[in-house]
Each structure stands twice: as C-alpha cells, then as structure tokens.
C-alpha cells in the first residue's frame, strides 16, 4: 500500500526534533530533555492529524466546519458558499475557505492528506483519487439520527478530532432534548410537506425522524408508505393536515413541476391549513443543521396547541 505523499516530510521533522532531544540528554538537565521529547511526541501526534483536508460533499463540508479548525481545511465544495446556506450561520468560515467543484484535478492540485466525500458524490472522481493513493473516506446518506451520530463519529475519527465530534453530538442531543420538552402532547398531527412533483417522504427516512422529533408525522407516514414517492395529487387531497409547507426556491425561471405547487387545489388546501416555511438547507444534510427544522416545527406545534 502506498503512503500518502506528505508522509516522509513531517516524519523527518519529528525525527529531527528527536535527535535534538537525545543530544540534549547528554548536555542539558533531565527536565529540558523531557520537554523536548514531549514536544517531539506531540509533534508526531499533531502531524498524525490530517492538516490538508478536502471535502467533496456539501454535508461533509458542514461537519468539517463544525468540528475541525479552519486552518486544517484545504477546501470545501462551491455549494457551501451559495446563499442558500445562510441559515446555518457558517458563512464567516465558509466564505474564507478555498473551494472545489468535485473534480479530481482540482483536488489533486490542493495536495490533500485526507479527502471526504459522500458515497454518491462524483464516484468517478473518488475512484480515481483512490487509485492514485489518496486517503478517501466516504459517508453514506443518513436515514436516521443514529446514522447521523455514527457519521459524525466516523468523521471525527478520520480527522483526529474525536473529542470535538463527541462534543458536537452531545450539544445536538442537549438541544434536541430541550426542543422536545416543549412538545405539548403526543397526538402526532400530520405535517404535509409537499415537494416538487408531489414528492412525499414516508417512513424510515431522516426527514420523517426530524418531523417525528418535533411531534408531527409526515404525509407519507399518514398515507402508509416508506421511503420517497411521487404521490398523485388526488391522494394528497384526501388527507387533512394540521400543518403544511409547499415552498420551492425555483420559481424564476419556472418549470412545470415547480409551477404545479401553485395548483388551485393545493392553494385551496393551503388556504385552510397553517403554513410553515422551512429553509431547504435545514433538511438537506444529516447534520446538526436539522435542529433548525426541528425548532421551526416545534414552534408551530406549540402555537397550534395554544390556538386549536
């Protein structure tokens, strides 16, 4: 197995420091020798953590920015710099980092020592990078909060920031707990999030768990299916949801699919149902950003309980 190209350089540096330590023992007092040995050890430990991490996936971008110091991030994807990410509050960090477009050439030019990608991200690029000897770690899409916690831990292990990863999970759980404490009852009313082309989420998805965590159930769960599906409009109309969302950012220029969310029947349903607008970015990734969605839904839940 080939070593990472960066390997020889830092080993030599740490070895050099080790030499100084051995020299020091012969000429200096023990304490000083211990310190330099310690530094040598720390140097090795520090350099065991990747220093030039490239992320090729929007979701690993987010986790990376939350766990790892920006000085060790060589690049994130261009998607993380788009305005749609504003609700995450990571703009200060994201705007200062170099970007990549998921192309193997770009990534190689960044001289990474660790590459993070989604298991469905530009598979040709990741395959090529692996063949060239780079360390590429892929993350499968999350279908539940547990999947998300596992991925955070995996990323922490890969970057050598296990402690910070655990802290992120702990913060997430604490905040989730606080939000869930506000759910007034366990009636689980229906939240109808109607996507483009009547795309509905059912049982066994991350989205369903987010909605359930806030005390609702999804339209797909009400209709009784798992996974994702395009559902006929008439079927959607047979359900009476307690809360609804039909927003799409793709209104100009339009397409027939995005215009269909303005169908008179959907508008009529919306006229008699409270609406909520969850920024799309909150539910794109299995990452702490999902708490943004949970919070919006819990707020709606409280409001609905107060004024039935």
């Amino acid at each position: 197995m080939k070593r990472s190209p960066k390997a020889p350089a830092f080993l030599l540096q740490c070895a050099a420091l080790g030499e100084v330590a051995r020299d020091a023992r012969r000429r200096r007092p023990f304490a000083v020798a211990m310190f330099t040995a310690l530094f040598s050890g720390l140097c090795l430990a520090a350099h065991a953590q990747p220093q030039r991490i490239v992320s090729m996936n929007l979701c690993t971008d987010e986790l990376l920015m939350r766990i790892v110091d920006p000085s060790r991030i060589a690049a994130i994807t261009h998607l993380s710099q788009q305005p749609i990410n504003a609700p995450l509050g990571l703009n200060a960090i994201a705007s200062r980092l170099p970007i990549n477009h998921g192309l193997a050439e770009e990534v190689i030019a960044l001289k990474p020592d660790l590459i993070l990608a989604g298991s469905f991200t530009t598979t040709t690029a990741t395959a090529l990078l692996r063949r060239l000897g780079y360390t590429v770690i892929t993350f499968a899409p999350e279908n539940s909060f547990d999947d998300m916690r596992a991925n955070i831990r995996k990323l922490g292990a890969a970057t050598g920031d296990q402690a910070r990863a655990e802290q992120l999970i702990a913060d997430f759980d604490a905040r989730l707990g606080a939000l869930q404490a506000r759910i007034p009852d366990d009636t689980r009313p229906i939240f109808a999030d109607i996507g483009v082309n009547n795309f509905i989420t059912g049982e066994g998805t991350l989205y369903a768990e987010v909605v359930n965590a806030a005390g609702y159930r999804t339209l797909g769960q009400a209709l009784g299916f798992s996974g994702y599906r395009n559902v006929p409009l008439e079927q959607i109309l047979t359900i009476r949801p307690a809360l609804m969302s039909t927003a799409t950012p793709w209104t100009h220029p339009p397409s027939m699919s995005t215009m269909a969310l303005g169908h008179p029947a959907v508008r009529a349903m919306a006229a008699r149902t409270p609406q909520v607008d969850i920024p799309e970015r909150y539910t794109t990734c299995g990452a702490p950003s999902i708490l943004g969605a949970v919070e919006i839904l819990v707020n709606a839940r409280e409001k609905q309980a107060r004024s039935p």
Binding site: V196, N197, N230, P232, L233, E234, Q235, L237, T238, R240, W250, H252, P253, P254, S255, M256, S257, T258, M259, A260, H263, P264, A265, A268, M269
Partner: protein
Amino acid sequence: MKPPLAYPLLIAVLALTLLLLAAFSMLVGAGGGLSELLAMIASDNADTATLIMMEVRLPRTLLALMIGASLGLAGASLQGFLRNPLADPGVVGVTSAASLGAVLALYSGLSMAFPLALPMTGIAGALLCALLLQGLAGRGGVLSLVLAGVAISSLCAALMSLALNLSPNPYAAAEIMFWLMGSVTDRSMDHVAFAAPLILIGWAVLAFSARALDALSLGEESAASLGVNILTTRNMVIGGTAISVGAATSVSGGIGFIGLIVPHILRPLVGHSPSRLLLASALGGAALLTAADILVRVLPTGAELKLGVVTALVGAPFFLWLIFRARTEIES
C-alpha cells in the same frame, strides 16, 4: 351504398357516448371512485370531495374533451383540404411546432407575466410550421408532405430539448417527456380558462371552411369554378388548425394520432362527406381522448402513463397499416 346510420343519428350516438365517457372520467382517480366520494360527503368531508372533483377532475375532463375535439376536427379538416387521408396535425409537424412555441414561453418565464402568452406562442409555432410546410411540400403530394412533417417534428423536438436543458431550473430537463408525449394530469381550471376561448375560435374558423371541403372533393379546378376561393379556404383550414391545435398543445403537450384515426374510422359512417366528417370527428376525437385519459388512470402502472403514449400505441400501428394499404398511391 347508404351509410348504416343516418347522419343525425350518428351525431346523437357520438354525443351520448361522449357524455357517458365524460361522466365516467369524473368518477375515476387516485382520490377514489364513486363510493369513496360518497363516503367523504357522508363523513363531513364534502369540501375535500368538491376540491377533488372541481379542481382536479373537472379541468382534466374538460381538457381531454376540448383537445380531443380539436385534434379530431383539425385532422378531418386537413385531410379534406389536402385531399389526403394521411394528414393529421402530428404527422405534418404542427403539434411539435406548437409544443416548441409553448416551451419557449413557459421556461423563459414569459407566461408567468402574461398567461395568454402560452397558448399564443403555441399558435405562433403552429402557424410557422404551416408556412414551412407550404414551402416544403406545396403540391408535391402525400410523400413530400409526410417527409416535411417528419423533418419539422425532429427539428422541433431537438430545439425543445435544447431549451429545456439550458433552463437554470433543475426540473426543466426531465419535463421533455410531457412536451413530447402529452398529458392532462393535474391541469387546473386556469389552463382551461385561457386555452378554451382560443380553441373555440379555432373551431369556428374550421366550421366555416366545411362546405368548401365538399366542393374540393372534385379537385381544385372544379371547386374554383363552383365559386370556392381556394386561397381563403386554405387560410381558414391552416389558421383554424393552428389556433385550436396550438392552444390545445400549449396546455397538454404533444398528443398525436387522434386526428389520423378518428376521421379514418368515421368517414364511411358519414358517407365520405368531408363537411359532415368535421363534426363527427370532433365528437369522436373528444370521446377517444377522454377514453384514453380514463385508461391511464385505471391501468395499474406505477406512475401514470403519459396520454400520448396510449394514443401512439394505438395510432402508430394504425398509421403503418394505412401507409401499407395506400403504398401504391404513395409511390405514384
């Protein structure tokens, strides 16, 4: 040899069939059949039943009727004028050109500012195609007409695909299937509102050309000697076809073969009279398309089939059979 049914009786039968199919169309859908709808009304859910019937099924049924009628009528009209039983708005490229016009209006955002732009660009596309056909085929006979139609359809399909791929909206590219194959699924009363007036105008124009088509059976010279203005008749047929088919296609995408099949089947039943065939084909086309739309809702395919798929599955073999039978005439 007299036709088996007298003309008024034939019209009555077609109209009745049409009404029955329309009623059936209102009672079929993913939201439930008659029993489920009644249950909704009984359990204080009447407004849901109303919503489904009035906002989803009614526009769908009305559009299937109007579009089917337009296609049947235009097909009969084109065949009467061109004196060619293979003429049909789809075969001669009018439908594809209308789709292209509508695509340009919708995906550029023009139709959001100005909703009538959608059927009007459909009509403009159809008219341009007609002009091109005159230039390409002229008096060249059935072979040049069909070939010209093929060329125009291919070009328009390619341009549509290009326009959709260039759209920044991520859903646009996949919508090519709607424009190539057609559908009335989830259309709304808004679509009915802005397409219907133009479709009706197109029908009126075609109705006015009916008499002249009879005289044209004898050939252009005899017809001219009987007082038919060939140029005016041509403009009415082309104009009426472009207006009705252009507006229809702009809301339903490209549905083919109705204008080919229906006049062919009904012609012997109206005693081969081109003028009588117009009304009969309008009713027959409306009935056929409504039946096809019921079929796509009833078939147990995963996602709903596109309407044009059903008409093509029936129409294309029929077209081949027609060509087969007429091949001696085509080669002359």
